[in-house]
Amino acid sequence: MIRKKVAVKNSSGIHARPASKLVKLASKFKSDFFIYMYGYKINGKSILGVMTLAAEQGAELELETSGPDEKEAMGAIEDLINSGFDEE
């Protein structure tokens, strides 16, 4: 299991389009993926779950991946979030 902290960079936060990208990416990996935010834990492969986070710019997220490809999963997901979901 790997845990990493990231901050949401996009000015619009994680709205529908980034949520969709995130979930699609995470679903490619075998490992489980969870997101913790301010005490909430949601399944990072569930788009509805990610949308309920309604994470705004600056929100601190703790990412957790666990499974056979946890390293690759964490790397890819972290990159996506840090790159602002290629939005700006």
């Binding site: 936060g13 679903s27 509805l48």
Partner: protein, 586 residues
Amino acid sequence: MESTDNDIRESIIEGLAASPGVAIGSAIVIQRRAVQVKPEKVEVRQVDDELTAFNTVRDGTIRDLKSYDISDTSRNYGDATEILEAQIEIVKDPDLHRSVCKYIEKDHYKADYAVCLAFDQYLKVIEKSGNQLLIERLVDVRDIRDRLIKRIQRHRPGLHLAGNTVVVSEEISATEVIEYARDGVRAIVSDRGGLTSHAVIIANSLGVPAVVGTRSASRQIATGDPLIVDGKRGKVILNPEVETLERYKRLLSRIRREEEEMTRIIEVPSKTLSGESFRLQANVEFAEELGNVVRYKAMGIGLLRTEALLLADRYHDGLEEMQRQLYKKSIDSVSNDIVTIRLFDIGGDKFIEDASNEVNPFLGWRGVRYLLDNKRLLDVQLKAILEMAGQNPGKVRILVPMVSTIEELQQVSLDIDDIQNQLEGDGKPIDKDVRVGIMLEVPSMVLLADRVAKYVDFFSIGTNDLTQYTLAVDRGNTRISKLYQQMHPSLWSLIHMATEAARKNGVGISVCGELAGKPFAASVLLGLGITELSMAPAAIPAVKKVLVNQTMSSMQELAQKVLKAATMDDITQIMNGWEQEFKNME
């Protein structure tokens, strides 16, 4: 919706003749109206059925969404894709799935109410969040929820589709046609839709009469209204009068007699009256059509279109597996015969994700051109095909689409050699003699046919596109569509040229365009020397009937007459003469 006295008069609704056949029944109108769910529960023993209903609808919805052609909404192309992708993710959402199943399994709620409850949880939280961008998207979330609920409500067998039902709707998807056909619907009528849509192709393939493009049928007709659907003439007759009803009942029994005759024809050997053999094969696109391949006893699949696989899986996950399944099923459906697999023919009117709205898509980046610029995709497909060929030697042929130069073919052949070597190196079985051929659809290749023949094992004439390129007509352009004539003298001339080249070089030749499925044209093709024709499975009986009842010499005479024609009028005259003779024979 009540009908007033005024509405009880017979009225005719015109549309496009999408799929032939007659249906006499009562309408079920499927409206886009607000969805209604009731908090109903089921007995313990029905819980499994509800789960199955939910899962089936979920899978079908994912497939449908993935195959949506959004090139129509090209104004907001980027936004449309974004919404669609998010909707696909929502339907696939694992937590949503878990939640719905829990409501069904633990609380015994009906599937549609379970979906409603599951979505509600998320909708409430997102609404409270105050995040405007997300709240804007709730429209799409609710759209998906409603879509799932509606499909579940329609899914219940017997509820809607007892007796002679005709489905009338604004729009009908290919998947819905398949579902309705399975439920025993007698015909399909829609406001929208064009003749080349997938829904129409499937309706034809499954033999379900259909009239599309009526513009307002779903608003003129009410559920329960009696109607007659005449698929061949593109007519829907609402509240038919007694005389009309009688007329169509007679027509229906005549059609049934013809169908019995066709069933008999299928069993007869595929030989002309003078004893020469011919092969009638099937054009197939979806696995659902394979049932008809068996039913009409097609002697092989002359054209297996594969691009639907790409449209169903835009991001190429699982493309290898989907291919393998389709190829395996196709090979199994023709027992000892051959399946000719056409490489992905995308571009033109078929949506591809990086199409940058070409000015002339038919003259653009499609077919083998697209594939050669996307080697990875080409190789993924070739590998799947060659593996299948290795496991089923002699049963698989490869067909390359839209070849316009010999060099393109050579490049594909090199790739094939490479992949065969790779497979051998990996210890996998290969078919050393796997046959490779090209679609003859671009005139350049027809004109060079005698020189191209050295490089191919077979030709397959794609008369649909060959007609467009030769007569410079875009079939979809309504202003000039009258010029799209598949039997124009120029086409026969080209077909003759290709056939001679094939014969001189000992190369196989067949026709897989729509032309092959027309009885008169099929007779001419045989007369020109082409004995392998591939068509929609349902077209096989009518073609077989005329071919077994003519001698080769009479068909050759027919072909010679056709080759002397100079205008469409000449051709029409010859055809009318032939049809008369045929009627006299019966």
